[in-house]
């Protein structure tokens, strides 16, 4: 074969090997036949043929925000255990069970819940979750759990489990998958920023921050009938709970249906609008009729001790403190 053709073929193989991640094996600067055929050799030494999986034991009460394998092994009866999962706002969680060794007939169970339960309240609320409540549970003991891989609808999920006999246990593999249109999010951090978009869907999406924060709305774009003209006159104060709007909720639980509305905004706005919410949980909830594309961009930062004390001093009611 001509030198020119050999060079071109070598370039092609070089690009292919770079794409497959084996370019680091090319140490030679000359185009030789040995160099060419070494790439095609299936016995090329790989530095690792197995992907790295993070592993650690699972505790009876645990919180996981990393992917990996988590092994639960009971050394004594554990009757009330739960593990919470949380991912980035734009991700959902996939849980896969393997090596499950529990005695369902004795009362052991292993259930995945699509959301979080805290103090008897659930997030997302019944109204905001796409599935009815019974379908949010996947029970391993129900007909051997036909679905070994369970995927959440939002960035949080959890499992409940109970084992009576020692040496029972199971292994879960947690993965995070991309969610292109995140709806119903719990923030992992006490500060950050987010843009929530509801594209032509009749749904309500909540962004929950489980810290006392100051929220600053940077931009709100709400489609509204007649919004390109003068604002629609309303006969009731506020948004009246109809149409497309944003509401800011505050409360000491995670269920948005049981939280107090702190503010609601019915019209698009640009420019920062700030609000301090001294509650354990502050939620930005976007209500959408499905007729428009609604978008809200906001950022949040935690309130320091001084600001919290000031808020408490200003408010006489026994409610989480707003300014």
């Amino acid at each position: 074969m001509s030198v020119n053709f050999r060079v071109q073929l070598y370039c092609l193989l070089l690009m292919l090997s770079a794409l497959k991640g084996e370019g680091r094996y090319l140490q030679e600067n000359e185009v030789t036949a040995e160099g060419l055929f070494s790439l095609l050799n299936s016995e090329v030494k790989r530095e690792s043929s197995t992907d790295f999986i993070y592993r650690r034991p699972l505790r009876c009460l645990d919180m996981l925000s990393v992917e990996g394998q988590f092994i639960f092994s009971a050394d004594r009866p554990q009757l009330n255990c739960a593990a919470y999962f949380i991912a980035e706002p734009g991700e959902v969680i996939s849980v896969e069970f393997s090596a499950v060794d529990i005695d369902c007939r004795r009362g052991d169970f292993l259930k995945v819940f699509d959301g979080w339960f805290l103090k008897g309240e659930k997030f997302p609320s019944n109204e905001d979750h796409p599935l009815p409540l019974p379908e949010r549970y996947v029970d391993y003991c129900d007909t051997g759990m036909p679905r070994r891989v369970v995927r959440s609808s939002q960035n949080v999920a959890m499992i409940f489990f109970r084992v009576h006999s020692p040496e029972s246990g199971f292994t879960i593999t947690v993965r995070k998958l991309i969610n292109p249109f995140p709806c119903n999010i719990i923030s992992q951090t006490r500060e950050g920023s987010f843009t929530m978009v509801i594209p032509h869907q009749r749904t309500n999406c909540s962004f929950s921050i489980i810290y006392p924060v100051e929220i600053q709305i940077e931009e709100l774009s709400l489609g509204r009938l007649g919004s390109n003209d003068a604002p629609v006159k309303r006969s009731v104060p506020g948004c009246g709970g109809t149409g497309d709007f944003v509401e800011l909720l505050g409360g000491n639980g995670v269920d948005t249906a049981k939280m107090f509305p702190v503010a609601d905004i019915c019209y698009s706005l640009k420019g920062p609008a700030q609000l301090k919410v001294g509650c354990d949980n502050a939620v930005m909830r976007l209500v959408s009729s499905g007729k428009f594309i609604n978008r809200v961009t906001f950022q949040y930062r935690p309130l320091d001790h001084h600001e919290l004390q000031k808020l408490k001093g200003n408010d006489v009611e026994d409610f989480c403190f707003i300014e």
Binding site: S48, F52, L61, K119, K258, F260, N281
Partner: protein, 164 residues
């Protein structure tokens, strides 16, 4: 000839799309020995947080508990101490009552018919966990620390690979 070769190359590239998983990893032996490092680091990190958790919970429930257990022997190993804290913390959680405080807004006061009663029963979680926001934030911060340590470990490995 060159154009034909270029077209052939593009078609071949499209046909052999790279996988998106990162495969720039060292040999498995090194992985196994190195993987224990971030985990032991994380366990060391989690110990002071668990200590704080335990103290916090004891302060909260100390008055209600007539016979407080011995916290820990002074010469216990770190793993024993950690395990003891975990067990005691879990025990405290299990002993606590279900905190099911419902704050009713004025608009929600008319939801006490039979269907809501049935709904409440299925609404209850399979396990009663007396977990406060404060404890939830603590375990969340532990999980974040674990995630950051894992990310740092992964970045270090990537830099080792690219440095070759």
């Amino acid at each position: 000839m060159k154009l034909a070769f270029l077209v052939f190359t593009v078609v071949l590239l499209v046909a052999v799309l790279p996988r998106y998983e990162s495969r720039a990893i060292e040999n498995p032996g090194a992985v196994q020995s190195a993987s224990s490092d971030p985990q032991s680091d994380l366990q060391k990190l989690s110990l002071p947080i668990l200590l704080r958790l335990g103290e916090e919970y004891f302060l909260r429930l100390g008055s209600a508990n007539q016979n407080p257990q011995v916290f820990m022997p002074p010469d216990a190993s770190s793993t024993t101490v950690k395990r003891a804290l975990q067990l005691q913390l879990t025990q405290r959680l299990l002993q606590g009552k279900v905190a099911n405080i419902r704050r009713f807004a004025s608009s929600n006061s008319d939801q006490l018919d039979d269907s809501m009663e049935r709904g409440k029963r299925t609404d209850d979680p399979p396990i009663s966990l007396d977990l406060t926001f404060h404890l939830l934030r603590e375990v969340l911060e532990m999980a974040r620390a674990e995630q950051l340590a894992q990310q740092a470990h992964s970045n270090r490995k990537m830099m080792d690979i690219f440095g070759k």
